[in-house]
């Protein structure tokens, strides 16, 4: 135990002092001393217990009883027995000595006494083991436990370390560093730009440098001794020994002639060490130099991959139609900054498509984005499940030793989510084909009934003489065949009704029409069945007369069937025609929408936004797909309505679009202007054709088939649509002028005072926004608030950047003000949160105005032509406003529902604002009101579409059945299509035609 204790103490000492070599010496001395002491103790003990007499004396010295204590008397006797034992031993010793010398007393008595003592020692209650005192076991156990606990407690600390040092017998202290080569060292750390960190000075550093890769370390050193040359050696850690990078040796430049002051720089690219080596001669090898500093550690501060979290869509939005849009919200973060984000979706065939998401500007560390995803961009066929996710890239330029796997930046992607996209159009096309087949089946049945030989026919005079009727059994079989055909037609009709009911693009009225057809034919079929019940199988052989009578009745019924089929076929044919035309119109409308979007993207591209290129490619692909479908629908229409009704001019336009050079080809050549010009021309062509159709239809005289209300409604729709187109055009031109002004001012750097003021105001405003309890705001208001916070954060950042332009500051402040305006609109005005949002909005507006004021006014920068154009636009806007007012005062506006009137009033106010700002030569400020005016007009159109259509006109003419009705309405449409092609149908126009066709 003592040995263990000594060892532990020695290890502890070694652990604390790191001197394993000294501790082992101490341990050996202690162990030697311990061994010597043990020997001494053994000798002492041996001496102590070396004879019977000394043993007896020890026994007598122990007062404890020799056995269990039965009584006090017996305990005293036992204690006395110890002394008597001593006496007996002394007597025995005396007897032994008397044998050699003269006896001291009676030997016999002595022997008897000894025998008596022995006898008493053998008494049952005497235990000889108790004669001597027992060893001190308890004390030893305590010591052992204490020692064990001590070792355990110190096993992970210095004790463990010390034991190692002790066993090794080495001096564990770190070696004394060589004498520093410098008397003073100053480091300046220049962080790479993407970290957005300011530089830092480090005088006389002693520890590890932890910096991001790409940091440039500027070194200034005062050497202790003069040197002829100095080098910095940077050694990077190797991930694999076989691929250890060679040390970088960089020369330092002498700053004076004494060779004492040196400076230089090196770039940290990974974890490793660096040291300074002083050379006595320029030609000395670095590895042979005797004067070198200690290796100082370099630690690469990692640039972690970005994180992105995509919020799942609400359950109701996980299945969408191809014409829908969904809003994706995601949050992305990065330690140094985010560079770009993209929405990636994967189609069932495994192909992936990437849609760039516009970055908020600058290299922010946190993005909170809401991206409106236009589903129409997805090239799906029928019903498809689309996987999608968000990919973000950080701004890591890859300055480290190890190249980035997929530059630029590091890529992270969110969790994958699913979206079900339905292509209603393809399903609808299938249903149209189904309807056409049913019509053809009905035509076949009509022909069969008209020409059947089951019943005698009345032939026209010009017809050749008919052959004689076949025998009764043959006629009966033929009549049964007609019955069977009727059943088949009804079954097909029932299937089509089911399919059409599920068709999102089919109107309810069409399903109702088909159902009514089925009902009428089914009633006739039942009657025919009843008649056939009187003509059972083989009855014609048994009773020819009865069969002939039954056939006579069936002949009468067959006439009814023919008349009914003549009507129903016309209804079915109308249904097919209408469906095809509507499909075509829908496709053309979609094509126009695609074209419009293409123009917008090309405008963005022209303005320098290169991120839209993939979108343009996708839209082109979609346009090709639309063209293909239109060609398909056109082929179908050609079979149905012939070239007389074909919209040849419209199709010529479409063919021209197909033949024109692909935009992507022009873009590949870098000819953006030409591509934009072409796209605008194509769009203009489509719009012009649509306008012509509308105009022509509007000019047509009133016919008895359209009620005055219906006509007024059509006129209103047409006028609203025209106003909206004008407003679109106006906005586009205003934007163009605004861009001219932007180009002129974009290079102006903001004044320092201006920046700082904007920064502090943005910070204060943002903090104020943070205080608002956004849980009490509506969904839209919350989004607005979030967007405003982002904008203000960006403004703060710009305020801190010396290179920020005045335009950037002003536009970012405007962005914040607009976001807060949205937030204010969605907040409850009477509540505290609403008031706070409004106050913030006003502050942001004032800030924006102040920053705007620092920029030169457009009137100062725009060229004379632009100013004239600006004035003209202002007048145009005023004119549009007047037209809108007149329209509202016109009796046709009675058709406009209340929401539509409200929207028109809003549009009027927006037009007024726009005209005012254009008049004040502020095109940038006019764009928003122009957009609001456009939106107002759109809402008015929507309200008109949503509203109940006017009552249908009273039945006209003397048509005896619906199928004999005057088809001049349909013809009017066809005529319009023929003369002036209706390309560019948008929704209102489509609706217009729906009503016209109804």
């Amino acid at each position: 135990m003592g040995c263990i204790a000594v060892t532990a103490i020695a290890a502890l000492c070694a652990g604390v002092t790191m001197r394993g070599d000294a501790a082992v010496l101490g341990w050996m001395v202690a162990i030697s001393l311990g061994a010597a002491g043990l020997l001494v103790q053994i000798v002492v003990e041996a001496r102590r217990f070396g004879s019977d007499l000394r043993a007896a004396r020890q026994i007598a010295a122990n007062p404890r009883p020799l056995g269990p204590i039965a009584s006090a008397v017996r305990a005293r006797e036992q204690r006395m027995l110890r002394h008597e034992l001593l006496g007996a031993v002394e007597l025995a010793s005396a007897l032994d000595e008397s044998a050699h010398h003269a006896p001291l007393g009676s030997p016999r008595l002595a022997l008897d006494y000894i025998a008596d003592v022995v006898e008493r020692l053998h008494a049952p209650d005497v235990e000889p083991g108790r004669a001597l005192p027992s060893p001190r076991w308890r004390l030893r156990a305590y010591a052992l436990v204490a020692l064990g606990l001590g070792i355990a407690a110190a096993s992970t600390g210095p004790l463990a370390d010390g034991l190692g040092l002790l066993l090794a017998g080495v001096d564990g202290r770190p070696k004394t560093p060589p004498e520093p080569v410098w008397a003073a060292l100053r480091l300046h750390l220049e962080y790479p730009p993407h970290t957005q960190r300011p530089g830092r000075d480090l005088p006389n550093p002693s520890g590890a440098l932890r910096v991001p890769a790409g940091t440039v370390i500027q070194l200034d050193m005062d050497a202790r001794q003069p040197a002829a040359a100095a080098r910095v050696i940077v050694t990077y850690d190797a991930e694999e020994l076989s691929a250890a990078p060679a040390p970088e040796v960089l020369p330092l430049t002498s700053q004076d002639e004494t060779g004492l002051q040196w400076s230089g720089a090196f770039t940290v690219r990974s974890t490793g060490t660096w040291m300074v080596v002083l050379l006595d001669d320029e030609r000395d090898a670095v590895d042979e130099a005797s004067r070198r500093s200690a290796a100082l550690a370099l630690q690469e501060e990692p640039d972690r991959p970005p994180e992105v979290e995509l919020l799942p869509l609400p359950e109701s939005q996980r299945e969408v139609r191809e014409t829908d849009g969904v809003e994706l919200r995601f949050l992305a973060r990065d330690d140094f900054g985010l560079q770009s984000a993209a929405l990636v979706y994967q189609l069932p065939d495994g192909t992936t498509h990437r849609i760039p998401i516009a970055s908020p500007g600058g290299e922010q560390r946190r993005w909170r984005k809401a991206h409106d995803w236009d589903i129409s961009e997805i090239p799906v066929t029928e019903r498809s499940e689309v996987l999608y996710w968000i990919e973000v890239r950080d701004n890591d330029p890859g300055l480290g030793l190890t190249p980035l796997p997929d530059p630029p930046g590091k890529l992270s992607r969110s969790a994958t989510q699913h979206l079900l996209v339905r292509d209603d159009e393809a399903e609808h096309a299938t249903n149209i084909v189904r309807l056409r087949d049913i019509r053809d089946l009905a035509v076949d049945q009509l022909a069969a009934r008209m020409t059947t030989r089951a019943f005698p026919r009345t032939m026209p005079a010009s017809a050749p003489e008919p052959p004689p009727p076949p025998p009764i059994p043959v006629r009966a079989a033929l009549s049964r065949d007609l019955l069977h055909r009727g059943g088949q037609l009804l079954a097909r009709l029932a299937e089509a009704i089911d399919a059409l009911s599920m068709d999102a693009l089919a109107r309810e009225r069409d399903v109702a029409t088909l159902t009514a057809i089925h009902k009428r034919l089914a009633a006739l079929h039942r009657t025919e069945l009843e008649l056939h019940a009187k003509l059972p199988q083989r009855s014609e052989h048994r009773d020819p007369d009865a069969a002939a009578a039954a056939l006579l009745r069936l002949r009468e019924h067959n006439r009814e069937e023919i008349v009914q089929l003549e009507d129903e076929i016309i209804r079915l044919d109308d249904l097919v025609d209408t469906q095809i035309i509507e499909r075509l119109e829908g496709l053309v409308a979609r094509l126009e929408a695609t074209q419009r979007k293409l123009v917008e993207l090309l405008e963005q591209l022209q303005a320098g936004d290169d991120s839209v290129r993939p979108l343009i490619e996708q839209l082109e692909q979609r346009r090709r797909e639309d063209m293909r479908r239109i060609a398909e629908a056109r082929a179908m229409l050609r079979k149905e309505v012939e070239s007389e009704f074909m919209n040849l001019d419209a199709f010529a336009v479409l063919e021209r679009l197909q033949q024109q050079e692909q935009l992507s080809e022009m873009l590949r050549r870098g000819d953006v202007d030409q591509a934009l010009e072409q796209a605008r021309g194509e769009l203009g062509e489509l719009q012009e054709l649509r306008d012509q159709v509308q105009e022509r239809l509007g000019e047509r005289d009133e016919g008895p088939e359209i009620s005055p209300e219906e006509r007024a409604r059509m006129k209103l729709l047409r006028e609203l649509s025209r106003l909206q187109d004008e407003q679109t055009n106006l906005r586009s031109q205003t934007r163009k002028l605004h861009e001219h002004w932007r180009d002129a001012v974009s290079e102006r750097t903001a004044e320092t005072s201006e920046r700082e003021a904007a920064q502090s105001e943005a910070k204060a405003l943002r903090e104020a926004l943070e205080e608002i309890n956004d849980a009490r705001l509506g969904r839209d208001a919350r989004r607005g608030l979030d967007d405003a916070k982002d904008a203000l954060e960006q403004l703060e950042k710009l305020g801190g950047s010396e290179s920020a332009s005045a335009l950037e500051l002003a536009e970012t402040a405007d962005q914040a003000a607009r976001a807060l305006q949205r937030a204010a609109e969605g907040a409850e005005g009477a509540e505290r949160e609403g008031k706070e949002v409004r106050r913030a909005r006003d502050r942001a507006t004032r800030l924006g105005e102040r920053l705007d004021g620092a920029l030169p006014a457009p009137a100062e920068l725009l060229e004379a032509d632009d100013l004239v154009e600006l004035q003209r636009l202002g007048e145009r806007q005023g004119g549009l406003r007047m037209q809108a007012k007149e329209l509202l005062d016109d009796p046709v506006a009675d058709q406009l529902p209340a929401p539509g009137r409200k929207a028109m009033r809003q549009a009027d106010r927006s037009m007024e604002r726009s005209a005012d700002r254009l008049g004040r030569r502020r095109p940038g400020q006019a764009v928003d009101p122009e957009s609001q005016a456009w939106q107002g007009l759109q809402e008015a159109i929507d309200s008109l579409r949503r509203g109940s259509p006017p009552p249908p006109p009273a039945a006209s003419g003397d048509a005896s059945t619906e199928t004999e009705r005057d088809r001049s309405l349909r013809d009017a449409l066809m005529e319009a299509m023929r003369e002036h092609p209706p390309a560019g149908y948008d929704e209102p126009v489509q609706r217009y035609y729906e009503e016209l066709l109804r």
């Binding site: 010009s462 079979k639 007389e644």
Partner: protein
């Protein structure tokens, strides 16, 4: 073969006019009758060539001094005479001699005619030449298949020579050379027109270099009025000779249009309704094409509509002169122009009052005559291409919108649907129901055409004849319809009617094989019967 409902009457008229415009333009660019050369014989040759007098030109050339310039004139004369190989050799030698000064007219002339001689040889490679029995016409067919046209062309030109000779006072003493081409590209090879010009304007005939170049109706989807076009070009030919190439564009085109049917009709037909409507609108709106705008060529007007309007204007102007002043008026007009008078003054002299008065009268009369004309479409010509080897099948859909609503329309539609599904008996029954429903349907040419052709298919000839007559009256230039009518009339025993209808078809598209089967039955001679039977096919 069948064809759609609209007849390309307008293109035919326009095309003829465009052809003559090219003639005039070409004449302006052709040999200039001026004494520009040193050698007076060559100047005389130049003048003779300009007025297409090859005999005089040859005499002058023979009298001229030897040399490259003489060779050039001889080469040009060879081109005019259709001797392309000789022309090429002579012109190439002249150019190779180096004697023609750089920038000289002779050099340009030599290069132009050398290219023309080569192009003509390439275009007519493998051609066949057929001379008319009377020797007045020489037809060169680039594709021997087109030789089918020869007898009809000769027959028509014989009639035209007689009629127009009397009207215009010119009877050529040499054979008229026709070159019938089987590809618009070939027309571009032998005229200054580009392929794009030809396809855009639908040009089918050009009179230039003392010959008439035309495209065969075989290469047009629905054919075209090729015989009238040939006569139209012939009128240009005669007018060039008659006036010494001094008639302006408007006069050339006006007379050519007015007289293009003279070979078969004593009186020019009225304007088609659609173009009459167009002309009426232009007079009312004071939006006429001025005579000055027609220079240098009507083909250079900005649109086909404006060109059609221009032709209608000049045709009716000269028609009015003919109507009021008779053949004498035309004669005075041409004489004055030939003497070098301004054409407007010449017209005024022929009319008897000043030109403005004539124009006022013309506007008033024309406005009144065209007041009731219906508006109609102005479809363009259609060349065959690789995908359009033959005319598309006749459509069977609903083309009865003009019938409005009611039973007639319903049954007509049902007829179309039944016919589309192959139920012809039932379809005929429905069409008859439609006709029985109201009078308008009974007289409707579209429905009549549909049912008439269906009856032809069902071989119910007697029923078909009246229907096809109604249809043909609305679309006289429809070759398929005329062929069907001819067949029905033949089967009902009306040989004269059948012959007239079949010739109507031949005038537009003689490449419908069935026509020749019927013409073989009607042939007056065995030789003609064999000729027609050779082209017969069902």
């Amino acid at each position: 073969m069948t064809r759609p409902t609209r007849r390309p009457w307008l293109p035919r008229r326009i095309l003829r006019a465009l052809g003559s415009s090219c003639l005039l333009l070409g004449a302006l660019l052709g040999p200039v009758a001026e004494a520009g050369g040193e050698d007076p014989h060559l100047a005389a040759a130049q003048s003779a060539l300009a007025s297409w007098d090859l005999t005089a030109a040859q005499t002058s050339i023979d009298a001229a001094d030897q040399g490259a310039e003489r060779d050039v004139k001889q080469g040009v004369l060879d081109v005019f005479a259709g001797r392309y190989a000789e022309a090429e050799a002579r012109l190439a030698a002249a150019l190779a001699s180096g004697e023609l000064p750089e920038g000289s007219t002779e050099l340009e002339e030599a290069r132009h005619y050398l290219a023309l001689a080569r192009g003509s040889q390439r275009a007519l490679e493998g051609s066949v030449t057929v001379d008319s029995p009377d020797g007045h016409v020489r037809a060169v067919f680039a594709d021997p298949k087109d030789a089918l046209l020869a007898p009809y062309l000769f027959e028509a030109m014989g009639a035209a020579r007689e009629a127009l000779g009397a009207d215009l006072g010119v009877v050529p003493d040499h054979p008229i050379r026709f070159e019938l081409l089987d590809d618009p590209l070939k027309l571009a090879m032998i005229t200054p027109l580009s392929t794009e010009n030809i396809r855009t304007t639908g040009t089918v005939g050009v009179t230039k270099y003392r010959r008439i170049m035309m495209i065969s109706p075989r290469v047009m989807v629905y054919g075209y009025g090729w015989i009238d076009t040939a006569v139209h070009e012939y009128v240009h030919y005669l007018l060039t000779m008659r006036t010494g190439n001094q008639a302006p564009v408007w006069l050339q085109e006006g007379l050519a249009k007015l007289l293009e049917t003279r070979w078969r009709l004593a009186v020019p037909p009225p304007l088609p309704p659609a173009i009459a409507h167009h002309l009426h609108q232009a007079i009312v709106r004071d939006d006429l094409v001025t005579l000055e705008e027609m220079y240098p060529s009507v083909a250079m007007l900005p649109s086909q509509e404006r060109a059609a309007l221009a032709y209608a204007e000049v045709e009716t102007m000269l028609g009015l002169l003919l109507e009021r002043r008779g053949a004498a008026g035309i004669e005075v007009l041409l004489d004055r122009v030939a003497m070098g008078d301004d054409a407007k003054d010449a017209l005024a002299a022929a009319w008897g009052q000043d030109f403005d008065t004539f124009m006022e009268e013309w506007k008033a009369v024309t406005r009144k005559r065209t007041a009731k004309a219906d508006e109609g479409p102005l479809p363009g010509p259609e060349f065959k291409d690789a995908e359009t080897e033959s005319a598309p099948d006749e459509p069977l859909g609903d083309v009865f919108s003009h019938l409005g609503g009611g039973k007639a329309r319903q049954h007509a539609r049902l007829g179309g649907l039944l016919q589309g599904r192959g139920h012809e008996e039932a379809a005929a029954e429905q069409y008859e129901k439609a006709r029985a429903s109201d009078r308008r349907a009974r007289e409707d040419p579209v429905l009549s055409r549909r049912l008439g052709k269906l009856y032809t298919k069902l071989e119910r000839w007697a029923a078909a004849v009246p229907l096809l007559k109604i249809a043909a009256s609305a679309e006289p230039e429809d070759a398929n319809l005329a062929a069907a009518e001819g067949r029905a009339l033949l089967r009902t025993g009306d040989a004269a009617g059948a012959s007239e209808a079949l010739m109507r078809a031949v005038r537009v598209n003689p490449f419908i094989p069935a026509i020749h089967c019927d013409l073989a039955e009607l042939a007056p001679t065995e030789e003609r019967r064999e000729q027609e039977a050779a082209h017969c096919g069902e």
